[in-house]
Amino acid sequence: MTRSPIEPLVLPVTAEDRRIAHLALLALGLTLLDAAIPSPLPGVKPGFANIVVLLALLRYGWRVAAWVSLVRVLAGSLLLGTFLAPGFWLALSGALSSLAVLAVVRKLPQRWFGPVSLSVPAALAHIAGQLALAGAWLLPGAGVLGLAPVFALAALAGGTVNGLVVAHLVAHPAAGAQSAHEPA
């Protein structure tokens, strides 16, 4: 048998890669849950997947959180069939803005500011990014910004709930949740 002149391409998989994959999978499950919950207004969602992003941020830093968030958006859009559709761009724009805000608010002293201080600004940034994209590109002049207060209220509520969940998980790392974070 002739040996291929090209060396087989081996992509080394680091522990961080596995970690990101595990966390992204968790976030993906929550994304599907989010999508399954009926919503009175398209775009108003609890954003449970961000719980995983915040846990990744607190445990492994911003880089891992960014990977988890973006992989989740990409894979979630593939599973939901919205890849490259408007919903995908909205999700991407929201994810990027909330990551940008997270990069800033994570510098807040942890002694005074807990996970809620991460999740609420991130949730508000998420809807701000989405509304900016929707207003500027998808539905210009359709008065999308008129919905801003409703979205802000939803983000405030969702951000608070998710932040409290993260705070609880950080304070009481349950045995079951632990195994998911620390893959063998």
Binding site: P109, V116, P121, G146, A152, T160
Partner: protein, 122 residues
Amino acid sequence: MRLLRPGDYAVLLLGALLTALLFARALDGAGGDSLLIRAGGRVFLRTTLTADQTIRVPGPLGVSLVEIRGGRARVAQDPGPLQICVHQGWLSRVGQVALCLPNQVSIEVKGTGSKGYDSLAY
């Protein structure tokens, strides 16, 4: 460790404040999306507020300049003696009107959603 730390309350308060501000702004009259220009008692032009432009409106005293910029409109120049309509500045909310009486020119902001009423019937 408590779930909410002191700074969290501050962040929540800020978020609530921001949301309240957005609601207050939304309730503070609907923003108009078109402009009705009258001259000499007739409709001179009905145009959108979304396209920036300057419109010359002729009247008995001369030309009034109506300026539309960034979703707002104003009378930029008017030959009238008191300049009341010019001093009114920018209009953006549905129902706002600037009257240049001497030159018989008026501008009024209109919206798609009818806001309020202009007459009462029993």
